[in-house]
């Protein structure tokens, strides 16, 4: 169990808060039955428990692992591209160029994919901060309301009627606007969200009616903050998704048909020796074309039912 207010504690503190307010009515401090508070507070507790921090941590860990794997692959692919491009340097033509470009696109893809996974992690981090802080804020509000109700009934001074509503909208935007690169180094989620500066102090007022009013006002403010924070996270995710969907540029085209030996578009000229190594006697193009025809026919025969049967596939015919 992490360092956040549990679902159980939220439900219990809401119940104690309701009991304290109802006691004010039973003992004559409140003129009217606090029906609005009783009804609304159940919804407020549901709101506070709407996101589960542990599930966010689990999802964060899974996505972080994927981002690290993709990043590690980017380095491997970069080395591969350099090595393979060097070996392919003696070849020219559209297909040879397409192969070299494809290696470069693989490297770019890994970099982009990691950056986009980091965006997902950043959204989870913001959601985690909001989930933890809405629980803490609601718990604080209920405790302050309990103390304020007791203060009304026993008129004892010195009760702690302060409560703190986290500015969840600012919190979410702050996390979303930070650089996500630090997320790769990991660390506990609790330590990655700076929430200390985003808290607004509040004070329950004197008078039983004022206690009820202060609770409702604080809960409404908390709801607005939560809605603001969550809308920011959702909006950010939708923007990222739209951008990714529009990004067809990198790697997502298969190689052109002149890179495919099976295609009639394949020509020696599109994957030919460069410069002085180019053979001259008779030219290679006709020999490659003739051999390609034979090669494709042999493959076709191998892929035919008879060919598969000859290769030992008894179910072929």
């Amino acid at each position: 169990m992490g360092n956040w207010v549990s679902d159980y504690d939220i439900h219990m503190v809401r119940q104690y808060m309701q009991d304290a307010v109802v006691m004010m009515f039973d003992e004559g401090w409140l003129a009217d039955w606090p029906g609005e508070l009783v009804d609304a507070s159940r919804r407020h507790a549901e709101m506070a428990n709407s996101l589960e921090p542990q599930k966010i941590i689990d999802e964060f860990d899974r996505t972080l692992l994927a981002a690290r794997t993709v990043g590690g692959n980017a380095e491997a692919v970069a080395k591969l591209r350099v090595a393979a491009s060097s070996h392919l340097a003696g070849w020219t033509g559209e297909a040879a160029t397409a192969f070299k470009e494809q290696l470069s696109k693989m490297e770019t893809f890994c970099d982009n994919q990691q950056a986009d996974l980091l965006n997902a992690l950043q959204a989870l981090l913001a959601a985690f901060g909001v989930a933890v802080e809405v629980r803490r804020s609601y718990h604080s509000l209920c405790l302050a309301t309990i103390e304020a109700a007791k203060h009304e009934m026993d008129e004892q001074d010195g009760r702690d009627t302060k409560f703190a509503v986290a500015l969840l909208g600012d919190l979410a935007k702050g996390v979303l606007n930070a650089s996500p690169l630090g997320l790769l180094s990991g660390g506990a989620l609790e330590t990655l969200v700076d929430v200390g500066t985003h808290v607004h102090e509040y004070l329950a007022e004197d008078g039983a009616d004022a206690v009820v009013a202060a609770y409702l006002r604080g809960a409404k403010q908390l709801e607005e903050e939560l809605r603001d924070g969550l809308l920011s996270i959702r909006s950010c995710l939708l923007d990222h998704e739209q951008r990714v969907l529009k990004d067809h540029a990198v790697l997502f085209q298969t190689l052109p048909s002149n890179c495919d030996v099976d295609s009639p578009d394949f020509r020696y000229e599109s994957f030919a020796l460069a410069g002085q190594d180019r053979p001259t006697a008779g030219g290679l193009a006709p020999r490659v074309a003739a051999e390609r025809d034979k090669y494709v026919n042999e493959k076709s025969d191998r892929d035919s039912p008879i060919g598969r049967r000859l290769d030992g596939d008894k179910g072929a015919i």
Binding site: N49, Q113, A120, F252, V261
Partner: protein, 100 residues
């Protein structure tokens, strides 16, 4: 009849490139493919309560990650296809060079 000379020499070099591509790319593709299933393992972020904007966030998150998982899976297929295409060109040119 072997083409010989520069063709054979360059073919040997291309073979080296192919070893990088047909050897390393499938490994890279397999590494990239492994976390795709993990990304798609998403369950939910729900607590015991309910607040519609929280539900909307997890729907948006799930959709975004699915787009990324789909893109990653497709990239792996393209990487494998690239390796296979180069392997076939080398096989063809080896035959032209009388080695196939």
């Amino acid at each position: 009849m072997p083409v010989g000379g520069g063709f054979t020499a360059r073919l040997d070099e291309m073979e080296c490139a192919a070893k990088e591509v047909t050897g390393s790319i499938p490994v890279a593709a397999a590494l990239l493919r492994a976390p795709v299933a993990d990304l798609r393992e998403f369950n939910d972020l729900n607590g015991s309560g309910r607040f519609d904007p929280a539900y909307d966030v997890q729907t948006a998150y799930e959709s975004y990650v699915e787009v990324l998982a789909e893109r990653q899976a497709r990239a792996c297929d393209i990487m494998d296809d690239t390796a296979e295409a180069l392997r076939e060109i080398i096989a063809l040119y080896r035959r032209v060079d009388g080695q196939g």
